[in-house]
Amino acid sequence: MGRLNVNLCGIEMDNPIIPASGTFGYGYEFAEIYDINILGTFSFKGTTKEGRFGNPTPRIAECTAGMINAVGLQNPGVEKVIAEELPKLKKCFHKPVMANVSGFSIHDYAYTCALLDNEEQVGWLEVNVSCPNVHGGGMSFGTSPDAAAEVTRAVKAVTKKPVIVKLSPNVTDIVAIAKACEEAGADGISLINTLLGMRIDLKTRKPVIANTMGGFSGPAIFPVALRMVYQVAHAVNIPVVGGGGVSTAENVIEMMLAGATAVEVGAQNLVNPMACKEIIENLPAAMDKYHIDNLNDIIGGVKNG
């Protein structure tokens, strides 16, 4: 047991670092850059029942300390993911992977998760009820406790793998939704997904994003993410995967103090492909600086103000 090891829903991880879904593809692009087996795990590209092209381009907008994306769940569909992507993934990554799943109906979620349940390499199912890019889709599930709970129950019924529900931050009461998922049997909560944001091109006077709005991520959203991780971690009794603007080892420690058992790194992978490698390498020194022997000692360790 190293000082970075954590246990997420019964699965041991060498460290808490998890590249977030949608910023790491199925791993190969990064495997060309560094050995991705140093990661705790990674959450692969959001997968749906049917293949999707996603939204029209432009899908990307620059922001202060962040970016907006409106990819819209582009993926080949779960059958192709299992037939073509997972075998390739297996070649460059030898640990349990986190399968990120989205859907547009309860049946979609159940169908996709049932198929992924048979895949040995899939360690966790990360059920995304929060993608803000699909009209009438994922978003609506993530903004209502009942709908989020319904998705959770449907997925739990078809899998024995740990189910982690990824929540949207674009809500009034994130705690109510997290609790509903916990009561519905979720094994963990992952948060936050992107904030709904927008930019306008002053030259063309059109939204920069063809889809008008998109998901805002990057260091700018860290304080909102940390707040929600803190609120949820103090309200539920299941592990929390914290993410949102994490870009340094210090951010990881702050997220874990707030209550995160593992930490997702998203947008930073896109601007610095070595981000997760550097964070993992920098963690021990950062832990020494703040007198942390073992990361497990600080999970939820924030003191009262």
Binding site: T23, G25, R59, I60, G66, Q74, L270, V271
Partner: protein, 224 residues
């Protein structure tokens, strides 16, 4: 701008590099104009804050640059007399391409299209390489009056192009041979991870940054 550093990852003409610029979150992709030893030449137009910041950089500034990005042009199908067509900001990548084709002993014809005389650049550089160079300006203030399609030669074995979409659509119709188009798109990562710059092609979905930026004439689907 010219940069000095490790350029070994840059293989083909038509590739791009991705620059980290202080004060901006996303990197800025810029097509490779030329590379010689450890010297990388980039020519860009100031279109926004990022390129504005680049033009304000002082000599000696160090930049984080991801190199060897994109597929680049495929020279194996050039034939004996390839035609290169660069429109405005699409001119720079034609330079390294011309050099590489000439090195293979090809007869290279280059058409450079601009709006007006003030915008014309690199005409002499291409001539110095030994290309047959034609320049068009929309207002006729320099070279042939009109669009690059007004300067197409009778005979050419294949074509390579980079430039704005309207020019691409016109070339797609006006060209008699096959060819390769280098596309531009807003990118997230620039190395294929984020699916931010995907497009539909005859051969399926492609990422401009990884499977592109160069697409073959036959696989292009024109969005309406």
């Amino acid at each position: 701008m010219t940069l000095r550093g490790d350029t070994l990852a840059i293989k083909n003409a038509g590739e791009f590099v991705n620059l980290k610029i202080d004060g901006f979150y996303l990197r800025r992709p810029i097509s490779v104009c030329d590379v010689e030893g450890d010297v990388l030449t980039l020519i860009y137009k100031v279109v926004g804050g990022g390129t504005e910041a680049m033009s304000a950089m002082e000599k000696g500034t160090e930049l984080l640059v991801m190199t060897g990005l994109g597929n680049g042009y495929d020279l194996s199908v050039a034939g004996e007399s390839p035609l290169l067509i660069g429109g405005g900001v699409g001119v720079p990548p034609m330079y390294l391409l011309a050099r590489r084709l000439l090195a293979l002993g090809k007869r290279v014809t280059v058409i450079l299209g601009f709006n007006t005389a003030d915008e014309v650049f690199y005409e002499d550089e291409f001539k110095a390489l030994g290309c047959d160079v034609k320049v068009t300006t929309v207002d006729g203030s320099h070279g042939i009056k009109g669009f690059v399609t007004d300067a197409l030669p009778e005979e050419y074995s294949y074509f390579y192009t980079c430039g704005p979409m309207p020019m691409f659509r016109a070339l797609f119709k006006a060209t008699s041979t096959s060819g390769q188009f280098s596309f531009e798109e807003r990118m997230g990562c620039g190395f294929g991870a984020c699916m931010g710059c995907s497009c539909k092609t005859v051969t399926g979905y492609k990422r401009i940054c990884k499977d592109g930026p160069v697409l073959k004439k036959e696989e292009i689907i024109w969005a309406d």
